[in-house]
Amino acid sequence: MNPVNYLYLAAVLFAIGASGVLIRRNAIVVFMCVELMLNACNLSLVAFSRMHGNLDGQILAFFTMVVAAAEVVVGLAIIVTLFRSRHSASVDDASLMKL
């Protein structure tokens, strides 16, 4: 199969993730959309690796996974704390940081 198709898939996934981040209010869903964008990137990295015939993209994909795992830990902790203090997981409720 033509590896370019994987790139199309990655673009679609990235677009879905990005629109989720912009549209959804629930922090958990926003978070999942962020993961979706990360994985779309991973997919395109691997596809490029295949297309160019070297392993750099695959190595970078591993790095992304590690970082994503660390991010999940920190992000979930923040969301849980936020929910505990506010009884809501809406990102729009946490809008105190403004002038």
Binding site: V21, L22, R25, V91, A94, K98, L99
Partner: protein
């Protein structure tokens, strides 16, 4: 001792006096005035020694010079403290130190009751030093130092009685008006430096005479020098300060504002003769200024009731004669200087006489409150009378010889110009006779008109002490004989010729006719004054008078003119500048601040705290960057 090295002594003696008296403090209060007088006399003695030495040399070999030190030695710019003593400087040195010494002596008596007498003598010595520096300098920059020095001394002495607001104001006025002239001198020096690359007398004057320089540049230099002369010598249009300068003590008026300092302008123009000879337009301006001032001062002098101000108007007018003569070129320089010297004698004598009258009359200056003083002050009357005869040009006395020569030279200018100038000088002679006769009649003749003042102190007119009358007598001798002595075999012209050049003028009418005309107008002036002030009693309060009289009493509206043109004009200028500052300059600055403030107020709203809207801008920015990158690639 080598005579050349004595030149610096001339200046050093009065300078030492000024330093000692002004820094010496109160312990010198009892002796200070004698120290000052002795040092002035010492300077005169040095002057006489140098003079006899100069007489012993050949006419071509009479210029002495002394190089003291290099003042500003820079590459391409050489300013030296060096002196040059030639016949012209020598004449001034003798006049300044001679009359100066007499006036120091006079002041010992005149300022006897003034508790700041030591300081007064310090200032007088300072003046002598500065004035000698002015006439002895061998370059224009050092002359400028002396020029400023006499301005300072004049300021200090006019405002000597600074507790009187009128004196303080007069001092400031004199200083400020002089500043305008000084600016002319500094510009002239700068122009000389750019044109000739030097400002020493020798190179500048010989280069001007050589004719390689463009006439336009020389005219510009000449006009700036004329402006300087106008300021210092109280010529129209910078004449307004001299009348007010009479607020100073009378010896100051005699020394600085009659005999010496105000003639510095005549010295400057005569010294720069080569420049003016090569720039006929500047010369014409000099003649016009002289002629206008001659009549201006005489008219003012006719209307003043204040004896000192009447004499001040006369000074202005007589200096007008000198300036006019210098503008005539080589036929006039010698007579300008000759009139300057004789004027130094008789005008100083007249002022000292006026001071003596004031001394006996409780410092009253209004001539309408004098009258019949000849019985009370015989010596003052006699010396003042001789000075009077000299200034109106009574045949045989000093003023006759010098003024008659100027009138002749004016006619000799030739053409219409010569006739106009001749007529103006003759008219001036008639006016001189008129106003001086008026002063004489109002002061010494007629009935006594003084009354007790508000506190009941009636003046007791009395003759002044010896220290005051002796200088008056000496000056009266000068007033009588100096002119005749100078005219003997044209000795004065012969003496000055190597410095100023001299040509005989050829007036279109014979010298005898001119002399007759001079004497006729003099008699007419005396007669008119006698009809007005001798035959009828003089009213104690001044009558309203004609329009011209009233204008002349106000100095022909010169202060009003200055007020309207300069003060009001200046006020309008500053106001419009303030307006521009407030609207334009402040507008730009405040407008910038306001627009930055408004813009940031709008930008602040972007910071709304919603994470999703930040995300939108981030994605949007990323999208724009990618699009830009792709576009660049495509191109």
């Amino acid at each position: 001792m080598n005579t050349e090295n004595m030149i610096a002594l001339l200046i050093a003696a009065p300078l030492l006096g000024a330093v000692v008296l002004l820094c010496g403090g109160r312990r010198l209060d009892r002796t200070g005035h004698w120290i000052g007088t002795l040092l002035a006399a010492a300077s005169f003695v040095v002057g006489v020694v140098l003079f006899t030495d100069m007489l012993g040399r050949d006419a071509e070999d009479r210029t002495l010079s002394q190089h003291l030190f290099s003042w500003i030695p820079v590459e391409g710019f050489q300013a030296d403290v060096a002196f040059q003593l030639d016949q012209l400087s020598m004449t001034f040195v003798l006049l300044i130190t001679g009359v100066g010494t007499l006036i120091h002596l006079y002041s010992v008596g005149y300022m006897e009751h003034d508790e700041r007498r030591r300081r007064f003598f310090g200032f007088l010595n300072l003046f002598l030093a500065a004035m000698l520096l002015l006439v002895l300098a061998d370059n224009y920059l050092l002359l400028y130092v002396g020029w400023e020095g006499v301005g300072l001394a004049s300021y200090l002495l006019i405002g000597f009685w600074q507790h009187k607001p009128s004196a303080a104001t007069a001092a400031k006025k004199a200083f400020l008006v002089n500043r305008v002239g000084d600016m002319g001198l500094s510009i002239a020096i700068l122009l000389m430096f750019t044109t000739f690359g030097t400002f020493a007398f020798g190179p500048v004057l010989s280069a001007s005479a050589a004719g390689d320089t463009s006439e336009g540049k020389l005219t510009a230099i000449g006009l700036m020098l004329l402006l300087a002369a106008c300021g210092k010598s109280a010529q129209v249009p910078l004449q307004s300060w001299l009348g007010d300068a009479m607020e100073g003590p009378t010896p100051v008026s005699a020394l600085i504002h009659a005999a010496t300092m105000v003639t510095a302008g005549v010295y400057l123009i005569t010294r720069s003769g080569a420049i003016f000879n090569a720039a006929p337009d500047a010369q014409l301006a000099v003649v016009v200024v002289g002629a206008v001032t001659l009549l201006f001062g005489a008219i003012v002098g006719c209307a003043k009731d204040d004896i000192k101000k009447a004499l001040a108007g006369s000074t202005m007018s007589q200096i007008g004669y000198m300036i006019l003569a210098t503008g005539l070129g080589p036929i006039g320089y010698v007579f300008a200087i000759m009139h300057l010297v004789t004027h130094g004698f008789f005008k100083a004598g007249l002022f000292l006489g006026a001071g003596s009258v004031m001394h006996g009359m409780n410092d009253e200056v209004d001539m309408r409150k004098y009258g019949g003083l000849r019985k009370y002050m015989p010596v003052t009357f006699a010396t003042f009378g001789l000075g009077y005869l000299a200034i109106i040009g009574f045949p045989g006395l000093s003023g006759f010889w010098s003024k008659d020569k100027i009138i002749e030279a004016a006619f000799a200018q030739g053409g219409t110009e010569g006739w106009i100038l001749g007529a103006v000088t003759l008219l001036g002679a008639a006016l001189t006779a008129y106003y001086m006769t008026r002063v004489m009649l109002m002061t010494f003749f007629g009935e006594k008109r003084w009354q007790p003042d508000a506190e009941g102190n009636a003046p007791h007119p009395h003759e002044s002490p010896k220290s005051m009358t002796i200088p008056m007598i000496v000056l009266a001798f000068g007033s009588v004989f100096a002119g005749g002595l100078f005219s003997l075999n044209e000795s004065f012209a012969g003496w000055l010729e190597p410095v100023t050049a001299f040509e005989h003028g050829h007036p279109p009418i014979s010298a005898g006719v001119i002399m007759t005309a001079t004497i006729t107008v003099m008699v007419l002036g005396i007669g008119l004054a006698y009809v007005q002030y001798g035959r009828r009693p003089v009213p104690v309060t001044a009558p309203r008078g004609s329009l011209l009289t009233r204008a002349a009493r106000r100095d022909l509206l010169q202060d009003d003119l200055n007020h309207v043109v300069l003060v009001r004009g200046g006020e309008h200028l500053t106001r419009s500048l303030v307006y521009v500052d407030h609207t334009l300059v402040d507008g730009v600055v405040n407008g910038t601040a306001a627009s930055v403030g408004g813009l940031s107020g709008r930008l602040r709203k972007l910071q709304n705290g919603f994470a999703r809207s930040y995300a939108v801008s981030m994605f949007g920015g990323a999208a724009v960057l990618i699009a830009a990158t792709l576009l660049m690639r495509a191109v």
